[in-house]
Symmetry: none
Subunit: 248 residues, 2 copies
């Protein structure tokens, strides 16, 4: 893979699953494993299930928060079951591979996997540009964590292997971008600033925020803004705040 | 899947893996599990890893020999590492799905998985029409048994789902949006309004507009906004205009 792919596991309960994920990743030739507040790690069960991929476990980076784990990533993809209350761009693993595969080597992509029993929270999902859904049996939809990582990394590897034999595929927005994509930390600063400005101009009621910020996050994340665009948007927010009349 | 697919496990050592296979199969909506001389079955570890797919374990058919397990199948596919001594038709999982997917419902296909430590014997592989190879990392090529079944059944399910939907063109974000996309007139009204508001807050100098509006158009158009999103953005612009202090 030319692009750098980070697998992020959030709050994993069973260390055996972390080992299974490491094995699945190494089988597909990925090696960047990040863990957010795992329940038990390191652990003998992780080593056992890793079955020779213990190097990935030794090099795994442990974080306190998801925000920290994805701060330097330009594209963040969260795994999700169907039917969230606010629709987000959802791709299947093959579509994900077609988006991510053509990106250049400097781009950092994170694919984030949630807890064994209840996945990612809505707040965590709203940090993501895309959601990826493995089209499983609706009556028995929850894959084992390592199995889900296996499917996603398999698709990414297949896209890479198939792309080697093809002409270059263009990124989905159909242009060669001249400027670096914003990373997750840039975008979080933008959304914090946006929320402040919207409160300042009385458009957002902090007592009753409804789904305004998730809707705006979804819109801007979908566009994969670059760093200059984020600066322009923040400039507009600053100008909006400066231009307002003093509160009564 | 119109065609009937049987998963056959040969001489599995760890009953936990049989459970993991059952779960992977049920996740992908397959239910026909056949076991050739499993070391320990039934077993509590199989039930535990099956995690709700115990119906597949209860209905699993146990055979003494592989020949017996595949006797009524028209197409038999054996999973294989690379480089067997005698070349055989080898497909990857996607090619397998493209071969098997279009077959009619009367056809029976078996996909055969070997032992955890050494796969299928040459004699067993020679019972197969095709060999399927998961293109794993050559330096770490052996997948967990349940992970291998997950990849193969995922590909078979994807072929089935894509075949059902190949009429439909999906929007770029791969989901059915709940709201109509904004049309060009909506978007032009948005950009006109945006330009006015940016002049009002002194962010855009009409005497020297530079590339600001083209940059913003490019950003918003890329996201393919829907009608509600355009209304939210226009609401923000109106609130921005209302909140501003009178010009000197």
């Amino acid at each position: 893979m030319s692009v750098s792919i980070r697998i992020v596991l959030v709050n994993t309960t069973h260390p055996g699953n972390i080992g299974g994920v490491a094995r699945a990743m190494k089988n597909m030739n990925f090696d960047e494993l990040h863990l957010v507040a795992p329940k038990k790690f390191p652990h003998v069960n992780a080593d056992a299930r890793a079955s020779g991929a213990t190097d990935l476990l030794e090099n795994a980076v442990v974080h306190e928060t998801l925000e920290e784990a994805i701060a330097d990533c330009q594209i963040v993809v969260g795994t999700s079951a169907r039917g969230r209350h606010i629709p987000w761009p959802v791709v299947d693993p093959r579509e994900l591979a077609s988006i991510v595969g053509p990106l250049s080597a400097e781009k950092k992509v994170a694919v984030v996997f949630g807890r064994e029993d209840r996945g990612l929270t809505n707040e965590e999902l709203h940090l993501c540009h895309y959601h990826v859904h493995i089209p499983s049996n609706p009556d028995f939809s929850s894959l084992n964590l390592a199995a889900a990582v296996q499917v996603i990394t398999y698709e990414l590897r297949m896209a890479d292997l198939y792309a080697e034999n093809n002409e270059e595929v263009k990124p989905q927005w159909g242009t060669d971008w001249d400027i670096d994509l914003a990373d997750s930390a840039d975008l979080e600063r933008l959304f914090t600033h946006m929320e402040e400005a919207l409160v300042d101009i009385d458009f957002l009621d902090p007592e009753n925020p409804r789904q305004l910020m998730p809707r705006l996050r979804r819109l801007y994340l979908r566009a994969l803004p670059d760093k200059v665009e984020v600066n322009v948007l923040r400039g507009i927010l600053t100008a909006t705040q400066k231009a307002q009349k003093p509160k009564d």
